[in-house]
Symmetry: C2
Subunit: 145 residues, 2 copies
Amino acid sequence: MPKPQATDRIEIADRLHSAAIHLLRRLRRVDEATKLSAPKLSALSVLVFSGPKRLGELADAEQVRPATMSRLVKELESDGLLERSRHESDGRVVTLKATQPAVKLLKQGRGERVKLLASWMKELSREELKSLERAVDSIDRLGDS
Amino acid sequence: MPKPQATDRIEIADRLHSAAIHLLRRLRRVDEATKLSAPKLSALSVLVFSGPKRLGELADAEQVRPATMSRLVKELESDGLLERSRHESDGRVVTLKATQPAVKLLKQGRGERVKLLASWMKELSREELKSLERAVDSIDRLGDS
DNA sequence: TGCTATTATTTAGCTTTGCTAACTAAATGT
DNA sequence: ACATTTAGTTAGCAAAGCTAAATAATAGCA
């Protein structure tokens, strides 16, 4: 019984890479309906489910540069989905907080993209769903170190 | 022992969505080294591992519009990584074939992004790797129907 | 205290990769 | 022959990533 070799890992890595690309491309199609693109939904999701954050923290959490997050935040703000406020003691930091409409959108609607993805998952067998559930955490930790 | 509920699926879908976004963002950082972005590597990978394709087929496989694939192909061609040729009997179709340098790059080097991803996977336990291997196929089939 | 360095965010400008719409060229069918 | 369909390309736009440079506030230190 062979142990996992480097080539196995590379094979799996290759398929994971393609699968991630394909999955996000398929999900992109729902964007018009939601009005929220993947990066915006993902960032807003952090604010809704983990509470207020400063801009730099959110950029870190989302693996983008502060400059990129600044633009996303500006657009989410003008959509009324989050509020910027200045920190009381440190005037440099901007604190971001999801608004009620955003909480409603994400908590109740949970996002059109996520609902669509969840509906696709109905096709999976019980075992496939179990594997997927276990794998998701591994995937999200990949490259953390 | 409860069966998987809709809320479980939505929870997993939400985490899968975030995990896929985060994974691809982390991988993007290696692009400078490779000179091949995710969409190009993914498209080229199809040609190398599944053989020549017409442009429309490749666009379908990659879940993008022909117009988008046409541009990617043009750039890959000017990098010497694939060759366009006209179909013998049907003058409308363009057949795409990976060149030797491309085969070498992907088969031997297997792409910097994939190598990096594979190296991250060393941190996973045997069990996590197994779950991931099983899950990858499910992920890639999601939304196929 | 007062200068200097650091830190947080923003702005400007560029690149890549999606898209749609409109075009060309070739094949098909009536 | 002529209209329609099919395959691919081109043009032009938007979103989201980046870096570099600007701004503003804080912190450190002589």
